[in-house]
């Protein structure tokens, strides 16, 4: 076959996939956003300045949970033959995966955007000011890590989905991936907690820890993406014959 002659279909599916992800995964999105807002408001109101060092650590977890709709659509489309249909009309497996990844990132931006903006609004309304810890926590860690963890969860979920038979419930990718996706964020929380138990947490140590966490997630995501061409074979996207 003359693969060099392959042309790509140009029509984007992003907007409709985001809409479908909202419809099929709205429980995740509402849940992720609600707990993000609730925890943010409670911390901003009751814990005062410590909001700056605690809330950002949880934001990536909310991002992962709230963005599961993208993976829900992918898993459903594979089982129901929609991916097969799209491949037949010229959409490459890589493009279909990119569509899931972009959808996930759009959903994360909604969840994190609403959670962070409401929480910060309450925090500032309570009379607190923007400290360096808050800026570092939100700007350097919370938002980038939320996108990183969601990309990790989405990529791992696509692998899991395509490498396994269709399953329901907790054994399905949708049941397990949120737990896997939040692991980097949980590991960071444990690391920060462990450091604070041994002594005061300096800004340098905080930046180093958060930077290392984000760097590791970025490396894992890049490795997974780089392996996509080899592992995400089109046969794996087809519904059972």
């Amino acid at each position: 076959m003359n693969s060099s002659a392959t042309e790509a279909v140009s029509r984007s599916l992003l907007s409709v996939t985001v809409r479908r992800a909202w419809v099929t995964g709205r429980f995740f999105m509402v849940y992720g956003t609600a707990i993000s807002v609730l925890l943010g408001v409670l911390l901003a109101h009751f814990s005062g300045p410590s909001f700056a060092s605690s809330y950002p650590l949880f934001v990536p977890i909310f991002g992962v949970v709230g963005s599961m709709g993208g993976l829900t659509v992918f898993t459903s489309d594979r089982t129901k033959g929609v991916l097969e249909y799209l491949i037949a009309y010229g959409y490459s497996p890589g493009r279909l995966f990119a569509n899931v990844l972009l959808t996930t990132l759009v959903l994360v931006s909604f969840v994190v955007g609403i959670g962070v903006s409401v929480s910060l609004g309450v925090y500032f309304a309570e009379g607190h000011t923007a400290t360096s810890a808050l800026v570092i926590g939100m700007g350097v860690y919370a938002v980038p890590m939320a996108f990183g963890c969601a990309a990790f969860a989405s990529t791992a979920g696509v692998y899991w989905t395509t490498l396994s038979s269709p399953r329901q419930g907790i054994n399905s990718p949708i049941g397990l991936i949120p737990f896997i996706g939040i692991l980097p964020a949980l590991a960071t929380i444990f690391a920060i907690t462990a450091i604070t138990l041994t002594g005061p947490l300096s800004t340098t140590t905080l930046l180093l820890t958060l930077g290392t966490a984000i760097g590791l997630v970025a490396i894992v995501v890049i490795v997974l993406l780089a392996s996509m061409g080899r592992l995400l074979r089109r046969e794996r996207l087809l519904s059972p014959a």
Binding site: M1, N2, R20, W22, A88
Partner: protein, 297 residues
């Protein structure tokens, strides 16, 4: 065994802008070979019924022709161009054996989704909603539809945009007899100008609509011929009567049917006339064995 070659007019090559040219194709899944050295060429607009037992490779053949599976060996040309070109894909409609309806969209939105994916116009959605008589389903989600309704919506998408080749993998599965008949009529209309490959487990359906039959067994083309040339070794007529009659004494008996083996359907009118002349009150006469069943054994 009769292998498939150029069944249709040899002067009409697949390079003329229409047609399927499958050249020594071996294909399958993750290295496991399902189709073995399949070759055939189709240029004549008609319905080609693809028959075969479960696991024979029908769906794999459709997926390979649709460019979903890449052959390990051999080549597929659509309209004279390799299948991996978008221009080739744009000549094809492929209806999967699954319903293929996207979750989270109503019927209308799903058809708009398909229309967008295929480059059809929004007005085409309204046209197929009326054509397939599914407008009353347009605000429902797939989860609210019966299996037959889902299949109907699924079929509607192949009418969104005109193409020259239609690959329909079990299009009438799960449809009630009325809708199945209407669907076959739509497909029959299509076949006047288009090439339609139509897989089915229903042998009677194959004889009803097919002009050609392509039989696959164990991943190879077992037979490719005009359907009228496909004859089994037996043709058994079954007759149900209102009252038993001595005229049927020489017939075999199976349930309510008296059986007689004939050389072909052309003998049926004479047999029935003879029985009625002898006073037999015939309630029903039917073909008890479909000659195409021989193809599966």
């Amino acid at each position: 065994m009769r292998s498939a070659t150029n069944l249709t007019d040899s002067s009409d090559s697949a390079g003329n802008g229409v047609g399927i040219d499958c050249r020594s194709v071996t294909a399958g899944y993750l290295g496991s070979r399902v189709l073995h050295q399949i070759s055939f060429r189709i240029t004549e607009p008609s319905i080609y019924v693809v028959l075969g037992p479960n696991g024979a490779g029908k769906t794999t053949l459709f997926r390979t022709l649709a460019g979903i599976l890449r052959p390990y060996e051999g080549e597929v040309y659509i309209g004279g161009e390799p299948i991996d070109r978008q221009s080739s894909r744009d000549r094809l409609h492929y209806l999967t054996h699954m319903d293929g309806l996207p979750d989270g969209l109503t019927v209308r939105e799903a058809l708009e989704f398909f229309a967008r994916a295929e480059g059809a116009q929004p007005r085409d959605v309204d046209r197929v909603l009326d054509q397939l008589e599914i407008r009353d389903l347009s605000t429902k989600f797939p989860s609210q539809l019966s299996a037959g309704q889902r299949k109907r919506v699924s079929i509607a998408r192949v009418f969104l945009r005109e193409r020259s080749i239609y690959l329909l993998d079990e299009p009438t599965a799960n449809l009630d007899p009325k809708v199945a008949r209407e669907t076959r009529e739509l497909i029959l209309k299509l076949s006047r100008e288009k090439i339609v490959l139509y897989s089915s487990h229903n042998l009677f359906e194959a004889r009803e609509i097919g002009r050609y039959v392509l039989v696959i067994k164990s991943g190879q083309i077992f037979r490719f011929d005009r359907i009228e040339n496909v004859r089994g070794s037996r043709y058994v007529l079954g007759i149900r009567v209102l009252q038993p009659s001595p005229a049927l004494a020489s017939y075999d008996h199976e349930g309510e049917y008296y059986l007689r083996e004939l050389s072909g359907p052309e003998e049926v009118p004479a047999i029935l006339r003879e029985l009625m002349a002898q006073g037999v009150q015939i309630r029903e006469a039917r073909e008890m064995e479909n000659p195409l069943e021989d193809l599966f054994t």
